[in-house]
Symmetry: C2
């Protein structure tokens, strides 16, 4: 049967979910989406994400592809209907037609994450930012973060025993900025290893507290040993914020 | 016994509470504060707020006064200890000494509220902004809002059968602005009647939808009749954001 593929752009607050990926132990964002799509379309659909996010991690922008039997005539109306079915913490932002062989995960050329941090107790951000006690030297953290762009092997910041073939990533942005009430670490790369952003943030916090110098930070990367990095920063501060694709995957009318 | 009075500046997310005021039907912010203060101080304290907020309403800044038997030697350390005991959705921002006769409610000379509104489904604001469907004419809403400053009797926007002696308020600011992902209505007055901000916002939404003109809006105010105003806007969009006092209440070292 002829199938028609679409990219779904969506956002979710990860607090209530056991991550993106369907799994037996708890409810996942992917599972909720599959159920909503299948309900509206009246046929079983698979929802293939650009990547996985761990339990409690949020997405300001996630991309997933779905195949449908009949092409949509009104994308906005379909998105509206889906949003009515989906819970408050998941929102469809946009739906766009793509080539039949476009793949949300394999065709992505860059991903961006943000890590949100507060140094003050904030009732409105207890589920949306990590609370870090004490003062942090953000200038030192930014000098160390800039080093990340000089390296490609990030074994030191990856989860052990995963099935990926290489631990190489090209990081093209890594910096802390103040944004209103929060400090935001923005990191962009062609790909990320599992747990990588939270391990990097946890290690940069060691720099910010003065427990690690820029040279120490470089040594951690160069050691290619996960045991040398800092403790992973908590999930509630992490947001997937962008996934980029080449123009060629999209169908232009 | 000599007592020492302090103003407590605090913020809270109102979602989980049955409003500010202690009441038999559910947990209130005031009750949680009284318990935390009494635990740390080891004597029963009363916490007197600058005003009441209804169930589900938030505060970016609320002020309350407390009396303690022994003056604080380290205000920051005491605030830190309180924040450790208080739940994630209540945060002490500051504690300042005031004159023994200073009153959080009666001495307040102005209060400011914000009403947050989104026109798109937003997973991160489902408890912190009202979701309004359809497009709104914010220019028309701002023209109507400006009229509020020409009147003083707001009986039309008050709850019936309250025990206040007068329905007169002096509104000194009333305007909608775009702030990032949300539309924010800021309103400042010397005092507010119960339910007043939500009734005003609900009526301005009628203007924004084109169902009421500026002249209709003026007629609602002039009627001094609650039945003429629009339905109250939902609690989750409302924030108390400032309470102002004359300098004379504070003790300056």
């Amino acid at each position: 049967m002829n199938m028609f593929r679409y990219f779904i752009y969506l956002a979710y607050k990860g607090t209530a979910y056991h991550g993106w990926q369907v799994q037996p132990n708890g409810i996942s964002v992917q599972e909720v989406l599959i159920r909503a799509f299948s309900t509206v379309l009246r046929h079983r659909v698979d929802v293939v994400g650009a990547g996985r996010t761990d339990a409690g991690v949020h997405a300001r922008l996630m991309v997933a592809h779905v195949d449908v039997q009949v092409p949509f005539t009104n994308l906005a109306a379909f998105a509206y209907k889906l949003n009515g079915i989906l819970p408050n913490d998941i929102s469809i932002l946009n739906i766009v037609p793509v080539r039949a062989d476009a793949h949300a995960r394999f065709d992505a050329v860059a991903r961006t994450y943000e890590y949100w941090l507060t140094t003050e107790k904030n009732p409105f951000l207890s589920e949306g930012a990590a609370k870090v006690y004490g003062s942090l030297d953000f200038e030192a953290m930014n000098r160390a973060a800039a080093c990340l762009m000089e390296y490609t092997d990030f074994t030191s910041f990856s989860k052990l025993h995963t099935d990926v073939k290489t631990n190489n990533c090209r990081i093209t942005r890594a910096e802390w900025c103040r944004r209103g009430e929060v400090w935001v670490f923005t990191i962009r790369a062609d790909r990320f290893l599992r747990n990588m952003v939270r391990a990097i943030v946890g290690t940069l916090l060691q720099v910010g507290r003065g427990r690690m110098t820029e040279a120490d930070f470089r040594a951690v990367i160069e050691a290619k040993d996960r045991c040398r990095a800092g403790v992973s920063a908590p999930a509630e501060g992490l947001y997937l914020t962008d996934v980029a694709y080449p123009e060629s995957v999209f169908i232009v009318d």
